[in-house]
Symmetry: C2
């Protein structure tokens, strides 16, 4: 409890903002001047919102037509940024898809009439059934005829290009934008809750993240593009909001814009505009707290989806990536059992994946690997490429694998790598389980390396493999025992499909996502927009619920909160903390350990010495032991600097209650107090204190004790430490790149 | 600002809860005893949550196996109630559907072989194409052969039964359960935010609401069953949670259960489990504030949907009520214009509907109609039935109309009342607009009469009529000018449908719902689950957004907040209030107008006199002007009664600082202070104060001024009054039934 206070809110304010009024009192004349924060600090939400408020009031108070036009312009600028962000991320997402497809196809072959065509583009314009001769595998292109040499050539190019792509991504990230590594969602969650990390959102990071993402996805590493796309969206929003001072100079407004952009990022990543909004609601606290943020997210998501659909990178002119072509719209009651089982598996494997990932992250941090991130990427990509080349379900691009696992077998569509061959049932089940296992291990290593990497798509792929395997087993059981009691509700005609393994894959993916991310509604909506499996929303809900319950019972948080804790961002998990009868008094820093200022009793010199010596963020201000307010250190220092330069000593004589001699030296702190400061009785239950921090974006709460006297204070970092107490590795990766 | 304090929190506590400890100090021994609230008061969230906390701690502190078993039992009971509520509301919803269908069909004819079969049940088991001879219209059944007499007989029975059904519903409601009238959603919103209205949730209300709902829907009045079903779900949850003391004795826990039940109600009403959860998130504040409530709502919704699907009242074995059979999965860019237009129309007509509805409510309240609610219902149902019988789109049951408007024309399905006749275009457009207009007027009268009545379905029907009309116009324009620049993106083959009027109906319904309820995401999800129009989620979003923006610009709130304001429930709208530089000081009740208690300075007699004379809810407690805390009046009275009966005066001698003589008479109030009381500086901006009330379920905030002295207080009712200031008719219907 007596740990040094986290440097939240360390920023500076211009001393020019203070002036003396006619009576010689200190006055805050530049209340609208923005505070500049340094990376690693936390913003003061109340102060930022007060700035925004002052600005709005100033605009509305203009006379005549200006009083109407200026606020309208303000709103227009806001919507301009929201819509432009939506369009940009839609365009960026579409181009990224095209780039990835081209790079990935390059690993297999090239287009004879143009190097920059990917395979579908190269083969477009053919009649159905016509063979595509323009796209040639490398061995065909290089005229290698021997089967053995062909295999060696193909596999060598496949592995070599994988390594080249992955290494380029790692070098780019390491050399130019270290913050472009990883998924970015933990950082975004922290930033949205008030953490300052401007290096994370520079144009340079945007460029490297986008390029590195394309390279790392194309390299075939087991990672997804969804999380990083959210980061890209946030970078774009930051770039665009610099155009207007209303965002540039206000950290709260900037964050509201970022939240909307994050929703748009999810919308584009999954082609799921509604999923974007719900992701915002569930994962980004800003949404739930501010109605108009949800509203902007809604617009940005819709615009981004329209832009994506308009550009139509897949040439399907629809948003749905993995259309489920389920034969039947209904499901049978007994299927609830395998689905519940998938939910349990998702919860268990999700927790396992999280734990493995944490162990790998710790190993990487505390071993030699830490020194050679590019070598690590090269090694892992070589292993991944070599393993993948051998197992067919690992070799295909993940999106293609998932799309095919979600599909029902259809004799007209062909036999997807033997998946639809009913005689090879156990081989398929084995192969799918093996693929899931390999991907699980590779994902837990890859997620955290020095390349942009998301965890959504690998998780979906693992879940889809397991679900499909479960579906195949169920289908086989039904085929052999059609008269068992379980299957009585199936249609009697054996040619009508009763069990849809493709839908089991969807359920498996939902369960796995639930286990890893611990999200609920957003997963259901995303999967349901992703697949169009409308009539099956209840099974998806059940699987996600079960997975989350099992995962939570296994005692771990979701992967994003874990990474936030590992990196020690000051982010309050939205958990429902239960105390054991503790009150504010039992965890506050008590008054004896806190340096307090008696109002109107200290001279400039004393105050300045105190403020310079102590590293606290600020000081409670008392009047004869009674709590009056709180003054921030930086604000105090600026004001003192202003006062020092002033020749008239009148500025200090503002406490009318004191006699002349004392007044000579004492500083009246009233003008410097934080306006919105929360005081509570020290008997307030700990739970209530924590929920106030969670709901109000507070930085600190002051406590009073019997008789109204100052008792102590609690800061946000105390609460963060308390809530992460159960996680043994908290702050293990606190050193940032 | 000096209005009498609203009687929030007026309840009593047992004086037995106070005891004197060994030192003679007052001690609160029954902190776990439930507070009993009277109807019309507001619960104290902090106190209720403290009770729940104390209970949990007590359970966990048990030794051995009990310490594990008791908490597990607690959780099991909670899930038992959640799941049973889900199942019950699923079953109730299914049976209500069956009952309504039977009653409504009875207005047209009867089944020859069994009076209790509805038309589809009567005609089931026929081969496709076979004519159903078992179901006979009344004229056929009574062997009336003359065409004229047939028409007269049919119309007479149609109108007469409508009146009988409606009148029975009104009589039932008026005589047995006045709270069963109307939709119930405003009351539920108020109750969930802490208002106490036990009469609203009795088993009796449940019965009357369900029965009255079936009758009023079957009578053909322009109303829906969706809102009332949410009320029914909440009654069921109340009934079930009485089984266990953990809910019965804790108002906060009870409300969490109600929120989950409300979500299940929406899930059943629309067959939309996800929509239920989102309705909860958007409309019920409890969801956003408490994660585990959303979680319960999720489970209850899913269970209810499974129960409904299992019972399968429509015999379609799917949840989707109005499947859209849109030919194409895509839409053209130019269609955005008619959809935006529909959004604008939805916003304008939605606001108009709300304004008309308020005017009718005021007229009803302040005229003779108020005295004769049953006559009013009879009159309106007669007019409705008569008008409906004449216009074909009004005559059919609303759900059937909507289902058909959402469908595309298909030569194999037949020509729905001439809707698919391309030569009768303008007749259809006129008829649809007329239907929309009639329904708009009838809805604004019906919603608020003495029958259970929801507004969702009429709103959907109005919007669907207008949307379909717009779609028909667009289709005709395209038919005549296929080469116009707008239509260049249409497929060149004229036999391929480019414009889907059925989908325009969905967009129209979304826009109208947006205009009336001002919800956003939940409407999109509900409509999208209702229709399966997955690929069209973006247009629905755009229409809802536009409708909400236009509606908000026209200056009115949604229909539910308006009714809450009309009835003056203490509910804080989740608006983003913007002050004009005002602070807490400018709207608080200032210290001079508030009766304060100096701690340890008043005798029992003085305190008792004060507490009995003043009707305030409680008193700030000061120590030499410094703010110490707040004591509630009822709690103070109970403690005083306890002290009076005590022979030892020692109980009062607990203030060690006072000299013996004074101590003789003074009461130490420390044990009676509210533990969780918020103090703020009076300079805190009004916006911040209001957002704290909105986010923390507070009942009051105390303010301090310079020097830490008590400055004043603000209560929740002050905030409610402030936020409803702009609505001229606030509290117009404050007298409850």
């Amino acid at each position: 409890m007596t740990a040094p206070e986290h440097p939240e809110g360390a920023g500076w304010r211009d001393e020019e903002r203070f002036e003396l009024d006619a009576d010689g009192r200190l006055r805050d004349v530049h209340a609208t001047a923005p505070t500049k924060y340094t990376d690693g600090s936390s913003i003061d939400w109340f102060a930022e919102e007060a700035l925004a408020r002052a600005r709005t009031q100033m605009l509305h108070s203009q006379h005549g037509i200006r009083g109407f036009l200026l606020p309208a312009m303000d709103a227009a600028r806001m919507w301009f940024v929201v819509i432009l962000t939506g369009v940009s991320i839609g365009v960026a997402g579409a181009w990224l898809d095209v780039l990835v497809k081209w790079l990935a196809d390059l690993r297999e072959g090239r287009c004879t009439y143009g190097f920059f065509y990917n395979q579908p583009a190269c083969c477009s314009g053919l009649d159905p059934g016509e063979l595509c001769t323009e796209w040639k595998s490398w061995s065909a292109f290089l005229n290698v005829r021997m089967i053995g040499a062909q295999a060696i050539l193909q596999s060598t190019i496949y592995v070599a290009l994988a390594i080249v792509f992955a290494a380029s991504a790692a070098i780019l990230v390491q050399s130019y934008a270290p913050y472009a590594f990883h998924t970015g969602i933990p950082e975004i969650k922290a930033i949205l809750s008030g953490y300052v990390l401007d290096a994370f959102l520079t144009p340079w990071t945007l460029l490297i993240k986008a390029l590195g993402l394309a390279l790392s996805v194309a390299s075939g590493l087991v990672l997804g593009k969804e999380g990083p796309l959210v980061h890209v969206a946030c970078c774009i929003a930051t770039l665009l909001s610099r155009l207007f001072s209303q965002f540039k100079n206000n950290e709260a407004e900037k964050r509201k814009m970022l939240a909307a952009a994050a929703a748009a990022g999810v919308s584009v990543a999954f082609g799921s505009p509604l999923g974007g909004v719900l992701f915002g609601l569930e994962e980004l606290d800003t949404f739930a707290k501010e109605f108009d943020v949800m509203w902007r997210g809604f617009v940005a998501s819709a615009v981004a989806a329209v832009a994506l659909q308009y550009i139509d990178p897949f040439g399907t002119s629809k948003l749905v990536l993995f259309q489920v072509t389920s034969g039947s719209d209904t499901w049978q009651g007994f299927e609830m059992f395998p689905w519940l089982a998938l939910g349990v598996i998702g919860g268990v494997l999700g927790s396992l994946l999280i734990k493995l990932n944490v162990q790998v992250a710790l190993l990487r941090r505390y071993s030699l690997i830490h020194e050679y991130p590019v070598l690590e990427v090269i090694g892992v990509s070589a292993v991944t490429a070599a393993v993948s080349f051998l197992i067919v379900f690992c070799r295909v691009q993940m999106a293609e694998l998932v799309a095919n696992l979600f599909q029902e077998c259809d004799p007209n569509r062909g036999d997807y790598h033997g998946l639809c061959n009913p005689t090879a049932l156990w081989e398929n089940v084995f192969l799918l389980s093996l693929t899931a296992g390999i991907k699980l291990v590779l994902t837990s290593w890859t997620f955290g390396m020095m390349v942009p990497a998301g965890i959504f798509m690998p998780t979906i792929a693992i879940g889809a493999c397991l679900g499909r395997a479960m579906g195949l087993i169920m289908q086989d059981v039904q085929r052999w025992y059609p008269d068992a009691w379980m299957f009585t509700s199936c249609p009697p005609d054996p040619s009508v499909r009763c069990i849809s393994p493709g839908f089991y894959a969807v359920v498996g993916a939902a369960a796995m996502l639930g286990g890893v991310t611990r999200m609920t509604i957003s997963i259901v909506v995303i999967l349901f927009e992703l697949t169009g499996a409308l009539s099956h929303v209840v099974p998806i809900m059940v699987a996600v619920m079960t997975a989350k319950m099992v995962g939570d019972a296994l005692g771990s948080d979701g992967i994003y909160p874990i990474w936030i804790a590992l990196r020690r961002y000051p982010w309050l998990p939205p958990v429902d903390y239960k105390d054991k009868g503790a009150t504010g008094a039992s965890f506050m820093r008590s008054a004896e350990d806190v340096v307090c200022l008696e109002d109107g009793e200290r001279t400039i010199g004393e105050l300045e010495r105190l403020a310079s010596e102590k590293s606290f963020n600020g000081f409670p201000v008392l009047a004869k032991g009674r709590l009056v307010g709180y003054v921030e250190r930086e604000r105090l220092l600026s004001a003192l600097r202003r006062l020092e330069g002033d020749t008239s000593r009148k500025a200090l004589f503002s406490n009318p209650k004191r006699d002349a001699e004392e007044m000579e030296n004492a500083v009246d702190l009233t003008a410097l107090l934080e306006p919105s400061m929360l005081f509570l009785r020290q008997d307030t239950p700990q739970e209530v204190v924590i929920s106030m921090f969670q709901k109000l974006n507070l930085r600190r709460i002051l406590f009073t004790r019997a008789g109204g006297l100052f008792a102590g204070l609690v800061t946000k970092s105390d609460i963060v430490a308390l809530l992460n107490r159960h996680f043994p590795h908290a702050a293990a990766l606190a050193e940032h790149p």
